[in-house]
Amino acid sequence: MNAITVDHIVKTYGSKKQVLTALDDISFEVKKGELFGIIGPDGAGKTSLFRILTTLLLAEGGTATVDGYDVVKDYKQIRKSVGYMPGKFSLYQDLSVEENLEFFATIFNTSIDQNYDLIKDIYVQIEPFKKRRAGKLSGGMKQKLALCCALIHKPSVLFLDEPTTGVDAVSRKEFWDMLKDLKKQGITILVSTPYMDEAAMCDRVALIQSGKIMSIETPENIVKEFEGELWAVRSADMYRLLNDLKQYKYTESCNSFGEYHHLLLTKNQGGKEGVLKYLNELSHKNILLEHTAPNIEDRFMQLMKNT
């Protein structure tokens, strides 16, 4: 049985005059025990999707189930069995770490002791601050506490809406390590993120943009789907290089990627020599041009362009 099924879900906002389509005929399935990522920028429809699955919003069309329960009819069942961490920090800032955890445990008819095993590895990291008010914690620790609170009743499916947004790189990495451990315990996890590089940590990902799913695949296969040969280019003047490459007649796309620009050429046109010749004519210095493997962001941008 699938832990989550989403079948032709449509969600719109606004009045008749100005309709905003947040989710446009979305379908996918998440297997039991899978770590599934919804990858896309703000405004892609991630939060609407999460709210529909956690029974907080009603979709205009389509059906969805969580744990076999219908999100509309069986909402009470779903509320008993899922864990949810909303995008915005949603704990009581004026309650201490311990008080928050105890509160959420009791609300879900359980106690901290009962499921302590599940949160132990995460909780020990914030335990030294258990008397501290949640509002006084750093971003990384708040996020750990929120995760503990969402896990305390041993949910079968865990919904994490942008848990790493606004969090620094170190805390983000730690967070993903925690998710991998949770996955080992058999919990199905649906997680959304705007950071493309985090897709690599998931079993499968759905790339979402403007309410549409552009691709659903394993991270490895997503990059394999990249069409064309990708070149990494750099020179002494990166900004001029980018503008010049964009002007090159055989350029399909050129995007900056850290210390390189990723260049995709129109099929079978020019090749490496052509590019080098073009750049030399424009007197670029220290040119480096080599093959590179596309990453998820490359594929995402390609898909964005094609739709």
Partner: protein, 368 residues
């Protein structure tokens, strides 16, 4: 049960950790009652008056003496002729002039109709009405004493309020009024704000995606504020009894029970407000506009309802504070028992049930 207890506990944490609000909750009643009791009462003390006694007999001397002896008036000036009256007002030193017609006592004894004119400065109608009322009642007291059983047609009617407020103390009216106002503010506004805050800080999202039942949520939100409001009732009663010398003539237990009933009505109002407001600011504004103003204007303690136009009189019936004000006046000041206030109590009970049902029905189990 455990869910309920931890929720209530959490609410108390919120309340006690927000020092500023806590201070307001507990100090506001005391401040208000003292403000209203001392500064804003419509009671007038030691007003200067002038007397033009054209009769100069035993009765006029006695009345003048009584006026002067009362705490409301001080005879500041004796006038000699009618032309002095205007001069006296123009100096601004006197607020009222008492004019006795010639042969005052004669007329009183023989024709049963003696004339006394009370002239007040109509530019301040409130004060003018009040002081002429006071003077009128002092004069009629004198007549009654003089005649025993005899009722004499008299031009100035004593105020009805004096029946239960023999010393004409304005404060008495304000205590029930302030109680109604404070309870509406604390109970209704605080409850609505507390619920809406959960929406604003996003905790509502997590609470909704939990097995917690809406009724449990609503009740646990209300309990702490019911408790706090009861504390306020006690504070107000203590301050008014010990500081303002307002007696508690009726049954204290009945008074507390009626207050609890009114608090529940107020909390239900707060719950209802929370179902259609999205931000704390909205909830606050709405509570102020929809609850505080009607309480002040139509509750009956600032402006007598009987003298309002009929439509307003009808509208005042849906203001819970009006009923509570009547109950407190009856129980606390008049010393009446439950048999006299059961109708008003029933109205409040009905209102609470109605509001609670609506809030529960309107409680959103989803985000929109």
């Amino acid at each position: 049960m455990k869910q309920f207890l931890i929720f209530v506990k959490k609410e108390f944490y919120h309340i006690f950790r927000d020092r500023k609000s806590l201070l307001i909750i507990f100090l506001m009643p005391i401040m208000q009652i003292i403000l209203f009791g001392f500064a804003l009462t419509n009671e007038i003390k030691n007003s200067n008056i002038a007397v033009l006694d054209n009769s100069k007999d035993e009765s006029t001397a006695a009345i003048i003496q009584r006026l002067d002896a009362s705490r409301y008036f001080k005879v500041y000036q004796n006038l000699q002729s009618p032309s002095d009256i205007e001069k006296a007002f123009k100096t601004g030193n006197v607020r009222m002039v008492v004019v006795f017609q010639p042969g005052f006592r004669e007329s009183l004894l023989h024709t049963h109709a003696a004339q006394v004119q009370l002239i007040a400065d109509g530019s301040d109608p409130n004060t003018a009405t009040t002081i002429t009322n006071y003077a009128g009642s002092i004069i009629s007291d004198y007549q009654k004493e003089l005649y025993g059983q005899f009722e004499i047609p008299y031009t100035i009617k004593p105020e009805i309020r004096m029946l239960y407020n023999p010393q004409l103390k304005g404060t008495y009216n304000f205590v029930p009024g302030v109680m109604a106002m404070i309870l509406i503010l604390i109970a209704a506004m605080m409850t609505s704000v507390a619920i809406v805050r959960e929406k604003e800080i996003n905790t509502m999202e997590v609470i909704l995606v939990s097995p917690l039942k809406p009724l449990l949520f609503i009740v646990s939100k209300a309990i702490p504020y019911i408790f706090l409001s009861l504390v306020n009732v006690v504070t107000i009663l203590l301050v008014s009894y010990f500081v303002l010398d307002v007696p508690i003539n009726g049954n204290l237990f009945l008074l507390m029970a009626e207050s609890l009933l009114f608090i529940i009505t107020a909390v239900s109002l707060g719950l209802m407000i929370s179902t259609f407001t999205k931000t704390q600011q909205e909830a606050q504004m709405f509570s102020l506009m929809a609850l505080l103003l009607p309480t002040l204007l139509l509750g009956g303690f600032m402006f007598p309802i009987e003298s309002m136009p009929l439509p307003l009189q009808i509208v005042s019936n849906i203001v819970p504070s009006k009923w509570y004000f009547l109950i407190v006046k009856d129980v606390m000041i008049k010393g009446l028992g439950f048999s006299q206030v059961w109708k008003e109590s029933l109205v409040l009970l009905g209102m609470s049930l109605f509001l609670l049902t609506i809030s529960l029905k309107k409680f959103k189990i989803r985000l929109s």
